[in-house]
Symmetry: C2
Subunit: 338 residues, 2 copies
């Protein structure tokens, strides 16, 4: 059926060993033969059988990625970055979607083991110590992206943006524009990774700039438009003195909050300023356009993939190193100078 290495060898009047050497670019074959064999390979359209190859080399040239939701813009950008590096290196990307469920994440990680991937990337919602433990039992190297593991003992190679610093920069930006009363729309209260870090950043910045932060200025959403709207309602209803600026942990929540504000008769940015996080499409195209922190998830994906290949090349499973991806404050119409 399919043409095998043997067919090529026969056609080219050489042994299969020689053909194999030509395929894999071994130098121990004379230019003359090399050319002849190459010619036959192309003529016969020979494609080495991945299975046979994998069986002997025990390498798949596949790297896997486990994510919660492919259709999420952040994840999709990340994957794009990862894929970019993979293509350059001749690797193939195998995508698994967990739906954010822990059992699934674990199952998929093991599935990747069965597939004999050379390495994997993980973007879990919440990396528990137990999961970290399991990750260490896997036979392939792994890089975390977007989230860091909170387990103290083990260190996994991680690529992440500096959430604390990003939020601090955002607050700094607002303060520099004359804002002192700033409310914060964060992630879920029991969030253990980026949401927590961002809140941490906010508290840190508040202290740094000596801002007064009433309890009611901090509310928890879940990154959706609706939750942003609800958070804004809460801020609006529970505070006699409204903040002059709202800093949300995602563009979508910022926009939800903005919508509520507008519907309540507040003008943006005249009465109240808004700031988001991520710099998604929405931020730029919304009206008024949204000031935000730009995070390049594409870059993050690229970097994560590069780090993974470092591990693969070095034949080690982790370095425990954490790489930070820079962020950028983007000024747009939604923030007014006081």
């Amino acid at each position: 059926m399919a043409v095998t290495i043997e067919d090529v060898a026969q056609e080219a009047q050489v042994s299969i060993a020689t053909v194999s050497r030509v395929i894999n670019g071994s130098k121990a074959v004379s230019p003359k033969l090399q050319k002849r064999v190459q010619g036959v390979i192309e003529k016969t359209n020979f494609k080495p059988n991945t299975f046979a190859r994998g069986l002997t080399t025990n390498k798949s040239n596949i790297i896997g990625i486990v994510v919660a939701d492919i259709s999420n813009w952040v994840i999709a950008s990340l994957i794009k970055g990862i894929n970019h590096v993979c293509q350059e290196r001749g690797y193939t990307l195998l995508v698994c979607e967990s739906g954010g469920e822990k059992e699934n994440e674990l199952r998929l990680l093991q599935h990747l083991e069965e597939q004999r991937v050379c390495g994997a990337l993980l973007t879990a919602v919440d990396i528990t110590p137990e999961l970290v433990q399991r990750i260490f039992e896997l036979p392939y190297p792994m890089v975390l992206a977007t989230q860091e593991a909170t387990d103290g003992k083990h260190k996994i190679t991680t690529v992440i943006h500096d959430n604390v610093k990003a939020i601090t920069d955002a607050v700094n930006f607002l303060v520099a524009n004359g804002h002192r009363r700033i409310a914060f729309i964060g992630g879920p209260e029991n969030d253990y990774s980026s949401g927590r870090k961002r809140l941490e950043g906010f508290m840190h910045a508040a202290e740094l700039f000596e801002l007064e932060v009433p309890e009611n200025y901090i509310v928890h959403g879940n990154f959706t438009f609706e939750s942003g709207r609800d958070c804004m309602r809460k801020i609006y209803e529970e505070n006699v003195e409204l903040p002059t600026a709202i800093l949300a942990c995602s563009d979508l929540m910022a926009i939800g909050a903005m919508s509520f504000a507008r519907n309540s008769g507040l003008r943006v940015p005249d009465d109240i300023s808004f700031m988001g996080f991520d710099d998604s499409d929405l931020a730029m195209y919304f009206h008024p356009s949204l000031s935000t922190i730009r995070i390049s998830y594409f870059d993050e994906g690229e970097q994560a993939a590069k780090n993974l290949f470092h591990l693969i090349d070095a034949g080690i499973k982790t370095t425990g190193e954490i790489t930070y991806i820079p962020h950028q404050v983007i000024r747009r119409a939604s923030v007014r100078r006081l």
Copy 2:
């Protein structure tokens, strides 16, 4: 290193054949043995080697997908749908990004051949007769999604939404709301697939509803925000009598156009109505919210994957069948009743 079938056989005091039968659920093994072997498999955490397995069965249980841009919302949703079906069937999804370049598409399709995928899905920008020809030479079954092939001779199994009907319905909706002067922001002029179909739909609807469509009412964008804005400028500047409604081929273009209109002092929807296409996040969250045609790309992906599995199960490469995914008109604030 890794535990093999032989280790299991030895541990369980049976032959490797028996172990293999247990793994693959062959019934020709007594319950007693079955149980014993199963126990050993679990105890030793044995995972059959994918390569060895593939070598004998010549099946990878992998299906591939080639897309132009992973981070595009439409594509990401499509992939999510595909992935959903694949997971159910125990297949793995291998994602390739072509960047929309024809050579890449072809290269990746061949790469998938090397990977011995059981089938593939393709979402090309422009499926030329040449590409169709090449597709037929591939050894695995293929399903087209989002786009249909225009080649007359060959038929490839395709899953698509009915662009002509969708646009007709959109026009119908506008007409039902009293609009008679409708401008159309389409895709690129030399677009051979969905853009063309949508324009076709518009012309068809115009005839159906006996609308007068001046030449300047039809402009060509490229699906981006900026092009939508530019198209609106063109419509605004080149027509003495402005349309009462704008129908754009994508939400993003509609929003771009809306932005221009607003900046030109037009009120939406009081002075002019807007309608988009896709029902992306933007449409719902934008202000004013955008009436649009909802296309479920997730469903489209699911259906495409299902059709692909039909082909795989039947052992055929194509049926030439075209499946249409239903769409839905979504009324939102951007369209006013005249």
